[in-house]
Symmetry: C2
Subunit: 276 residues, 2 copies
Amino acid sequence: MKSNDPTGTPPARQRPAIVMPSHVCGRGTLKEAHRCGMVREVCDALWARLDGACDGIRHLAPRETLSQAGDRLTHSALLLDGIMARYIAEPGRDRNNRLMVSIQVPGDFVDLHALPLRYLDHDVAALADCKIALFPHDALTGIMEQDAEHARMLWRLTMLDAAIHRHWIYRAGRLRALAAVADFICEMDLRLQACGKVRDNRVPLPMTSADLAEVSGLSTMHVGRVLRDLREANLCTIGDGVALIHDREGLRQLAGFDPSYMYQLAGQAEPTPPRG
Amino acid sequence: MKSNDPTGTPPARQRPAIVMPSHVCGRGTLKEAHRCGMVREVCDALWARLDGACDGIRHLAPRETLSQAGDRLTHSALLLDGIMARYIAEPGRDRNNRLMVSIQVPGDFVDLHALPLRYLDHDVAALADCKIALFPHDALTGIMEQDAEHARMLWRLTMLDAAIHRHWIYRAGRLRALAAVADFICEMDLRLQACGKVRDNRVPLPMTSADLAEVSGLSTMHVGRVLRDLREANLCTIGDGVALIHDREGLRQLAGFDPSYMYQLAGQAEPTPPRG
DNA sequence: CGTATGCTTGAATCACGTCAACTGATGTGG
DNA sequence: CCACATCAGTTGACGTGATTCAAGCATACG
C-alpha cells in the first residue's frame, strides 16, 4: 500500500489507485458524530446520500501517504478523525524542500477537488493516526445528477477550502514569522473548535517544529525561536502535540487575525456579510 | 458605480450590488474569440448556454473596483479582455498592506466562486481597461440544474483557480525574490499564451513594480532590483506594460518552473497525468 | 547500548526592508 | 508657454529578520 517509503526510491509509476477499504460499507457507516466541522453545513438529505455512497473506511498511520501528485483518483475522502496535510514538493520531489499548502481537520473533505480534476497537483498525507471515509467518484457524480442543490453544496465545500488557500497566500506573503505562526494557530484553534476538539483551551495539534516550518515556509530553527517567543509572551505554549492557548485575544491581535475568511466557521450569520 | 474612490472616504455600506450592463444582452453576446484561455475547456453546449445566460457586458477602467469583500453578489463575470486582480487587505482595509491573491486573464471567470459562496473574502479590481461578460447567478444555477456535466465543468473551472492558489502559496513560502518573480512571469507567459496574447515573446503585462510587489510580497524597491537582475541576466525585460522574454528556458530553470499545476493549460494530454 | 528524532543555543551570513534623494515622463492649470 | 504636481523607476546606505552551520542534549526506540 502507499506508505511512506523509507528506501528513498520513488514508488513505481502506475501505482494502483485502488483503495483497500478495511470494512465493507454501506448505509449506516457515517455516524452523527462525524458530522462536525465543515461538513456540518450539509443538510440531512445530502448527509444521508453521502452515507449511502460511502464504500469504505480506511485508517492511516502517521506520515502515511494517501495519494501523490498525478495519481489518477477514483475516490474522495472525508476525514473522520485525525489530521492530514497536502504538500507541494517542487522541483524533483525533494522531501526537504516541500511546502504544506493545506491542512485538513475532521469534517473536511480531504480531496474532494479530485472529482472535477481527476488527478491532483499535490501529495496528500496523514500527520497523525487518521480515519477516513471513502466515496467513489461515480457515486458522488450520481448525487450531483440527482439534486443540483447537493452539487452546489459539494462545490461550496471545495470553495471554502479555496478561501483558506487565499488566506494562506496572504499569510505567506505579508506576515512575519511571529505573526504567521500565531495566525496559523488561530486558524487551527477555530477549525478544531468547530469539530469539538478543543477543551480547556487545549488545541490538539500533532505537529513538530519541522511540520510548522513546512506550513510557514520558515526554517525549523526559526520556528523554534518563534515558539519560544510565543511562550514567553504568555500567548500560547506549543509542543507535545498540543497548543495550549493562554491568551486567545492577545494571540489574535498579534496575528491581526480576522476569521471571516472561514465564512460559516467563523460563526457569523449568513445574511449579514462581514465588513472590515 | 463602484469606481476607485479618490476622496478616500470608504463607500457607504450596503452599496447596491446591482450591476449596470452597458448593453442589453442575450444570445449572440459571446463571440468565438472570447472562448480562449481557461474557458476553452467548456464544450459547445455549455458555451451556447452561457451565451444565452449572459445579461450584460461591462467595461472597467484601470484600477476600478468590481466588488469588495463582503458584498452580496448576484452576478459572476467572465473576463473577455484586459487583466484583473483579487486582493486581500487585512487588517483594517489598509491599501498599502494588501496582497494580490489571484490574477485573471481573458477566458477566466473572475468571481465564479461567488456562486456557491454568495459573498467573497477579497476585493476584485481591474488592473487595466477590461471588458467582462456578466452572468446572473440564477441563470447559472439553471444551467447546473439542467445538466450535471455542465455543473461539473463550472466547478472544475473554479478548481483550476484553486490549483493556482496552491502554487501561489508555494511560491510565497518557498521561492526567493528572484525565483518568485521569475515564476510569476512564467505563469503569466503561459496563461497569456493560452489566450493568444503572446506574439514574438512579448507578454502583455500592464503591471507596475508596485503591482509586482503586491503579487510577490516584496517591497517595491526590491522588485526593482529583481527586475534589473532579470534584465542583466538576459532572461527577460519587464516594464512599460510588457514582459519581453529573452530566454524562456533560462527563466523557467531559474524559477524551477513546472507548469503541471495548470493542468490542461500546461499543454499535457489528460490521459497521462504528469509526473515529476 | 547505540542511533534516530526533536528541541535548543550561538555566531556568521545574507536576503530583504526601510529611508531618503534623484530622475524622467506625464498631466494640469494659469 | 511655464510652474507645479504626480507617478514610475532607480540608486545607495543602513538596519534587521531569517537562514545556515555547528554543536549540545534530551527522549524514544532498535
